[in-house]
């Protein structure tokens, strides 16, 4: 649970009536929501390091791709996947 995983910002939206800046971030084929409040300058297309649903820094694309491939290869992306299986009701709620 201590890993931070790099992903690409697909889109940005404000939630809770403008209170919170959230992004949809793609980790390979998996898309999850992440808060951009710690990286206020991040924009669409940027790569960010995401830890438990919060982007903690902006990283360059090459580095992000390399790290992501490494994590994928050694099977460290399970925490992204497993949760989807654990929470089938999220899809039904349209959360993703």
């Amino acid at each position: 649970m201590c890993l931070a995983i790099p992903g690409k910002i697909k889109s940005i939206e404000s939630q809770y009536g403008g209170l919170v800046r959230m992004a949809k971030v793609a980790f390979g084929g998996i898309v999850k929501e992440a808060s951009l409040e710690m990286v206020p300058h991040a924009k669409e297309g940027d790569f960010v390091l995401v830890h438990v649903g919060v982007a903690i820094s902006i990283v360059d694309e090459e580095e992000a791709q390399k790290t992501f491939r490494y994590l994928e290869e050694i099977g460290e992306l399970e925490e992204l996947r497993e949760i989807n299986d654990y929470l089938p009701d999220r899809k039904a709620q349209g959360a993703e």
Binding site: M1, C2, L3, V20, V39, L49, E73
Partner: protein, 370 residues
């Protein structure tokens, strides 16, 4: 046994290994603090590739492992007796409490949900206004901004039914505690890269001054770890003790100020108990008075007697780098991931679990007693 050719950058790994071999002239003991690094060192077979002189010991940097027994009992009590929706990272579920684990409580029907992020718990609180929602907020500095943010969101949304059960620990005081132990033989540290992405590296200068140990901020991929080890070995061989940053591509001196702002908005630094170890002064975060309404400890006022730790488990000595998992008589026998005696056998970042899962690629005879 893993082979270098499987690494994403085998030539570079090979180069660092050669340089470590060339540089080292005497035995050194180096601790990697972070459980993610322990996991990577073991899984990638690095322990067996290093020259015999370089002895790696594994630190207390697994938040799941050091979460006090009493807090796990409290989480279970909240789920079972108070009927809250108890949300947690998946890693916590199988950690043994004094009587059972969260997973056992879940199997008995308690509403325990595994989440990827504390921000999802806020959503659950919003969607279930008639239920109390508690997030079991464990973690090191890396996770603190997310847990703090969940409180900030709940506060902004004026949610009366959200709170966190905080179990937060900090790396620099842990290094201090490890060094102060009389039995400690540690001569250098690899500090955790992602922790420093948040906190920066300034906190490490006073430690280097005081204990005269090299501290190298290091990433978690094989090449990062090998380079970090090389940097530490070079300092040791030269009789130096400095803060160095191997992970500069992810870590800036000052860290992430926005993230620190969120942490200090919600949390204050306090003394705290580390499971298997002791109370370490100023080594954790608790929720500030200002956000008391979002602090499950205050909100539910649960008093559960402190249960004794399982005496057979030597997790404390392992997390201080005094012993290794193979030194534990129960390792792989009475204590296995399916039936753990202690938390380090549960979490993928715990040293015992890492050794157990990948023992095929660790050469026990080479490691034992080294």
């Amino acid at each position: 046994m893993k082979f270098l050719s499987e690494y994403r950058d085998p030539e570079l790994a090979e180069k660092y290994l050669e340089q470590i071999q060339k540089t080292v002239t005497r035995p050194w003991t180096i601790m990697e603090v972070c459980g993610g690094q322990t996991h990577s060192l073991v899984k990638n077979g690095i322990l067996n590739m290093l020259p015999k002189e370089v002895r790696m010991v594994h630190g207390p940097g697994c938040p799941v492992c050091v979460t006090p027994l009493n807090l796990i009992d409290k989480a279970i009590f909240l789920a079972e007796e108070k009927g809250v929706i108890l949300c947690s990272f998946g890693d916590m579920l199988r950690v043994p409490g004094s009587e059972k684990s969260l997973l056992a409580a879940k199997a008995n029907g308690a509403d325990i949900r595994i989440l990827y992020s504390p921000l999802e718990a806020v959503k659950i609180a919003r969607e279930n206004p008639d239920r109390e929602v508690v997030f079991f907020a464990v973690g090191f500095e890396t996770t603190a901004p997310a847990n703090a943010l969940s409180v900030i969101h709940a506060h902004r949304l004026e949610l009366p039914n959200y709170s966190i059960l905080a179990s937060h620990v900090l790396v620099p005081p842990a290094i201090e505690a490890v060094m102060e132990d009389e039995e400690s033989q540690i001569q250098a540290f690899l500090a955790a890269g992602h922790v420093c992405t948040i906190m920066g590296i300034l906190e490490y200068y006073p430690l280097v001054e005081r204990f005269k140990v090299p501290i190298v901020v290091t990433g978690f991929e094989p090449v990062d770890l090998l380079q970090g080890i090389l940097m530490a070995v070079r300092q040791l061989e030269n009789g130096e003790a400095k803060v160095e940053n191997q992970y500069a591509r992810m870590v800036r001196e000052e860290g992430n100020p926005k993230a620190q702002e969120a942490i200090y908005e919600v949390f204050e630094v306090t003394d705290r108990l580390w499971r298997g170890m002791e109370v370490i002064p100023m080594s954790g975060y608790e929720v500030k008075e200002k956000y008391a309404a979002y602090d499950a400890k205050r909100k539910f006022n649960v008093n559960i007697a402190e249960a004794p730790e399982n005496k057979e488990c030597i997790a404390g000595e392992i997390m201080k780098g005094i012993k290794k998992p193979f030194d534990c008589p129960h390792f792989g026998k009475k204590c296995k991931p399916e039936n753990p005696l202690g938390a380090p056998m549960v979490s993928s970042e715990g040293a015992c679990a890492a050794y157990y899962h990948f023992s095929g690629i660790i050469n026990e005879s080479e490691l034992q007693g080294t």
